[in-house]
Amino acid sequence: MKKRIILSILLLITAIGFSQNTISGTITDQNNIPLGGVNISIQNSVGGTVSDFDGNYSIQAKDDDSIIFSYIGFKTQTIALNGENTINIVMQEDSEQLNEVVVTALGIKKEKKALGYAVQEVDGESLEKAKEANFVNSLSGRVAGLTVKNSTDLFQNPEINLRGASPLLVIDGIPDRTTDIWKVNTDDIENVSVLKGATASALYGSAGRNGAIMITTKKGKKGKMSVSFNNSTMFQPSFIKVPDVQTTYGNGNQGVYAYVDGSGSGTEGGGWIWGPKLDQLDPSTPSGYVETTQYNSPIDPQTGELIPIPYISRGKNNIDDFFRTGLIQSNNISVDWGSEKASYRMSLSNVYQKGIVPNTDLKNTSFSVGGSINPSDNFKVNSTLTYNKQYTNNFPEVGYGPTNYLYNLILWTGVDVDVNDLKNYWREGQEGYQQRHFNVSYYNNPYFQAFEYLRGYNKDNVFGNINFEYNITPEFSLKGRSGANIYSLYRTYKEPKSYIGYGDKSRGNFTVEDSNYFDITSELGIKYENDLTEDISINGEFAYANYYRNSTYHSTATDGLNIPGFYNLDNNSGATLFGENDITKETIHSFYGFVDLEFYNAFYLTFTGRNDKVSSLPEGNNSFFYPSISGSVVLSSIFDLPSWASFAKLRGSWSRVSEGKIDKQSNNPYSHIQAYEKGTSWDGTPSAYFGSALLSPNLKPETSDTWEIGSYIRFFQNRLGLDVAYYQARDYNNLIYSPLSETSGYTSLLLNGDVFKRKGIEFTLDASPIKNENFQWNTQINLSQYRRYQEEIYGNKEQTEGFIRVGDRTDKIYANVYQTNENGELILENGFPVSDPYQRYIGYDEPDWTYGISNNISYKNFNLSFLFDGRINGLMYSTTNQKMWWGGTAPGTVNQFRDDANNGESTFIAPGVKVIGGSVEYDVNGNIVNDTREYAPNDVAVNYINYMQTTSNNQNKNYHYYKETFIKLREVTLTYTFGKAIIDKMPLSNLSLSFVGRNLWLSSDIPNVDPDSGKDNLQAPSTRSIGFNINAKF
């Protein structure tokens, strides 16, 4: 209600002061198809409008005004009114202009045809309807060469790979080296520009070596004040992938189960799910089913003993019963206003995500302001400032182990346990001290975990920047920019008594972590711009830049708690508190510059250079220069191309980028300093030790040389466009921890060594197969491949420790396998496989192709867009699948052999051979040098359960490395934009309603897990998101 009043007031304000003639008309293209979205503004005045879907517009103007019609890809037209009230316009396509202004490094907008490297943009609008918890997830499949591996877990970063490496995140020109993808609100994103190669981002220096994801946030626009409201509500009612477990057998081992005290030992079966068959009839019991003692058995008041209860599959729906419908709700309201002198935007957003695990959520609130002022014609200042808060009392811990929900819910819980019965999670009389569960040595009651083991997270982010440009003369201007990223993060870990970790039963603990972070990037430079002749122009910049970071970290933990459930450091029951802290400071001083040359609107050439002086390398080797050159030729401006080719361009670039950071992962700037580490204190006596890596004295920066060629061609009146890029990078002087013989005292030597070659190819195909008055269909296909090869191994070693040889792909996987004979038959001894003492090659990690197919279909007021994406080939290890075979929950374990084993019979004869004579000898690399073994078919029957507990069925499941191949229906959005007739009756300028689905359908080779995240260390079930979006402008 309150909101509505504010809106009305805002609307009232905007309406005042404009009472002139109404000019209207229809805008079409050369083919007489109505053009929506054309910008219509009045010369020398504020304000404007856009044409609607049918190409109609209306605008207030005075008789002597001139109206400007502009639309990307078309020539801008200025029409003097001369008293006319109806102006119909036919827009002329501009094949040279196209829609080709893109944001490049340092926020400089350039014509795409001038670029010598690959840049791909994603419009903020395509991200705002189908909301994800963070904007990066929404980029999946939209950019060739950018692979986003989405996590299924709440509040976990996706893995972002751009051409196989982690790109830099840049917000309004200021790099965010902390890569906090959660602090940018999707509704505030005007545009995401992905600078793919090193050349594209060379101006960011070392940090931009792997390309950059550049976010431009929305600023105030010239025109009347507008208020936008966007609501998106997405539910996660179901799963597209969840482990499928057998429901035939229950908890226990060797077909035996009887609960004693929850310790897991004896007849409790050691935590295995290799127990008796469930739901077996037994006429001799009161229930008619086989009965045994269970954790929820009543106690006989006479004897004090547990009374057996039916052993039945009451927990078949444990997954659905425990997980709840997740929700992502995001609301944004923004106000926008601008004149010739100033513009301003403010935006308030809130994203609430309710996790599928009870008592987990994530709140993410942002308030941002941004604007610009032009106090005089030659001076421009703009700035943005955002406050963002990420807050939760509890979000789930991930990774395999008793701290994982699926681990406790289905992977290691037979269906004889009904999760509904676990809601009462304290053992009677031991509240606060002992959780209630069927096994309290190995596992956690999932409800106990959700409501008592709490991981709090509270992060306050402030980031923003200020830019100015002052024109000293028409050619020269002074430019400056300063931006900061600041956060403070407070985390808490509340661990109740009796909580189970690996081999650890908690005595209750409380841990507090504090981080404070500050970085500032400041730049000051001169810009030169001059059109020397009509056909030759030059522009360039030279600047000094400075980066400084100061961060601190501190954590304190108890060693047990006195009072259960009282989470305060004062409640420590141990002798002392345990704590650690660190302080990190880093700086980089740089000079950089670039020169752009343009000839005859057809030849473009750019030179860049940068010198960095870093604190993260020893003095003397810490200052380094690196250049780049790139160019493009617009063939269509030089030659007369056939009529079906509307535009053609060739581009090429070469760049060198050096980096002086040793430990990129931990972002530790002190890795070039050899020092002692803190060791364990023994009964209060402190200790220290020396690390296992030795540093060589003259560390230099590491360097990548990259070249890239590409072309961009458009056909059939721009209806079809193809962008192809091929690149090759040579990484040398790499700062590597070169492995040493441990006998030398160190496991590795940090040095500049090894050479890698990276190469890849990317295709982007745009097409508008259908385009007529009512019906339009646009499609974009992205396809990419990336490879990395070992070119040299430091010290001319025959192979790396991972068995990679020169010329090999570096993603070769070697695994511990069983021995096989020359026919590939498994070798067994006493019925069990014999391990190979040497690791063997089993496949490649990287997919062959990564692809995305997006479609946008408009019919009248309806718009349907959908996106498929996926990957082809590549292997990933699946912990979930391995543990299911090992633990007894894989459906494949339901068979006669298992029944036999339950009866104490050894009947399983694994296919393979046994050695009946001879022997084998290997050289040190595991090559067989002498093999006289003779074989006979394996005839030793073993207990099936023992066999699975020993092998996890490894030999039949490729040692649980599975093909990563998948295709996913990532997104479907159906939008209805209300027509003018309805809009006019409401105080609105635009209203649209969308039905949205994300992560809707998956087809993959790997069972039980979603391969999207590219790794499986027991991931949460993959959920389907369905919801709606309302977008209104006033």
Partner: protein, 483 residues
């Protein structure tokens, strides 16, 4: 207007320039020390050396069995071991380096002992390993040559003797000592007792003149003033555990120990036959005899080490096997971990008498060993046991009897030592006749070298393998020590 613009720009320029911090000012890591005093390193080295409770060793030495799958330690088809002890040798070398810097000689003397201890641990596992050339990465020696086992033993014997002699005259204080709290006499007792262990390790090489084992042994044994040795459990080289984070007994809360490890049958039967009260300290009653009193020997049982896994798991499920005593997985302090104990020393002396290396009353040393072990487990009433005819030494079987007692005394302590003793003497017999046995029913004699070494020091490794093991690097090959 102009003025405002200018001052605004000036402000921004100021902001840019002022945020500078020089790179040369950030070349020190505020979080780590580049120099430390040697006692900080000593503490860590002691933790590494003395903390040696190993379930794998307990499986290989027929104390325990495992039911969650076929275990390579129990069924003797293990393959490789690691070179982690070289990191410990590096810590010792850093301690000696820091001791040199701070001119504290006593840490250099202790360094000789720890170097000896770690290199013996390595050579016992593999055979030839680098020593004279090792830990020299800082001198650009990245591919150390392998020393013969014999030369390693010779160097160790000399170093240990020097360490005792130098410690006798050193007057500095030892700080950071969590084992003996700086008591130098106790350190000398440890060094000399350990010296005798090393000599006993070489018993097969008794006739080797260069090693001259018997004379060396006698020199120490007959000269207690110059070479003091352990005299009681008070002198034990023991690491105590505390109920403090990271200081707790390593098996506390170990789930597998509670649910998948059971006592080994031949070991339990031996204790039952001898009516050995230590059984009650080692094991818990088997579930199907839970109603019997704790001191009823028949209430205990085990699974057969080399037995078929199916048989073992069935027996375990049927409640016929004992777990270890719950104190091992519940008590955070439980009992000390031993590098070498007084009991072990007494058994070494008894064996030396049996081998005619020294002349002494064998029975006294033997019974001292048993008594020390009983006292370690706080058992006071064991006179009957000492007089039990089944455990008495009799001519011809002394070594077997002594080793059998040594085996009992080393249950879940002293690392892999008892496995090496059995490898050296064949006593007590470790069963390999069960149906589950692998490795063609052979007990491995060693471990294969780490796989990484073939990549990082391939030529030297190949040389070492070729000169020692004609059939290649495998677990059944015999090292020099055993030939």
């Amino acid at each position: 207007m102009k003025k405002i613009t200018t001052s605004f720009i000036c402000f921004l320029v100021f902001l840019t320039i002022n945020s500078c911090s020089k790179t040369e000012d950030l070349q020190d890591d505020p979080n780590r020390a580049t120099e430390v005093s040697p006692e900080l390193l000593l503490t860590n080295i002691e933790i590494q050396a003395f903390n040696n409770i190993s379930l794998s060793a307990a499986l290989a030495s027929r104390y325990l069995t495992y039911t969650n799958g076929v275990n390579s330690n129990q069924y003797y088809n293990w393959q490789r071991a690691g070179y982690d002890d070289y990191d410990n040798l590096k810590q010792v070398s850093k301690m000696m380096e820091e001791a040199q810097r701070t001119e504290s000689g006593v840490y250099q003397i202790l360094g000789k002992f720890f170097n000896s201890y770690f290199i013996i641990s390595l050579t016992e596992v593999f055979g030839d390993v680098p020593y004279s050339d090792a830990i020299q990465a800082t001198e650009n020696n990245y591919t150390p040559v392998y020393d013969t086992q014999k030369s390693i033993y010779l160097k160790v014997l000399n170093d240990l003797k020097d360490a005792n002699n130098e410690l006798a005259t050193n007057e500095e204080t030892i700080l950071g000592d969590i084992i003996y709290n700086g008591d130098k006499l106790k350190w000398r007792k440890l060094i000399n007792s350990y010296y005798l262990r090393v000599l006993m390790n070489l018993s097969i090489k008794e006739g080797n003149d260069e090693l001259n084992i018997v004379a060396r042994f006698n020199e120490v044994y007959t000269n207690p003033g110059k070479y003091p040795i352990f005299e009681s459990n008070e002198d034990n080289a023991a690491l105590n555990y505390y109920n403090i984070q990271d200081n707790r007994y390593p098996l506390q809360n170990n789930n597998d120990l509670q649910t998948a490890y059971y006592m080994e049958e031949s070991f339990v039967e031996r204790l039952q036959n001898f009516e050995d009260p230590r059984l009650f300290a080692f094991a818990e009653k088997k579930p199907n005899a839970a109603d019997l009193p704790n001191t009823d020997f028949s209430a205990y049982g085990g699974l057969y080490g080399s037995g078929d896994l199916n048989d073992n798991t069935s027996k375990a499920v049927a409640g016929e096997a004992s777990r270890v005593h719950p104190r091992y997985f519940t008590d955070p302090e439980n009992e000390s971990s031993l590098l070498i104990s007084y009991a072990e020393l007494e058994f070494i002396l008894a064996e030396a008498v049996a081998r005619n290396w020294i002349s002494a009353d064998i029975d006294i040393h033997y019974k001292n060993g048993i008594s020390a072990s009983m006292e370690f487990y706080n058992i006071s009433n064991f006179n009957d046991y000492l007089n039990n005819p089944d455990i008495q030494l009799s001519p011809g079987n002394e070594i077997e009897t002594i080793l059998t007692q040594k085996h009992i005394s080393m249950f879940l302590n002293t690392g892999w030592q008892i496995f090496y003793e059995q490898r050296r003497t064949g006593f007590p017999e470790f069963n390999t006749d069960g149906e589950g046995i692998l490795n063609n029913a052979k007990i491995p004699k060693r471990w294969m070298y780490p796989a990484d070494e073939a990549v990082n020091n391939g030529n030297n490794l190949t040389d070492a393998i070729q000169r020692q093991y004609p059939n290649g690097d495998n677990t059944n090959a015999e090292m020099w020590l055993l030939q």
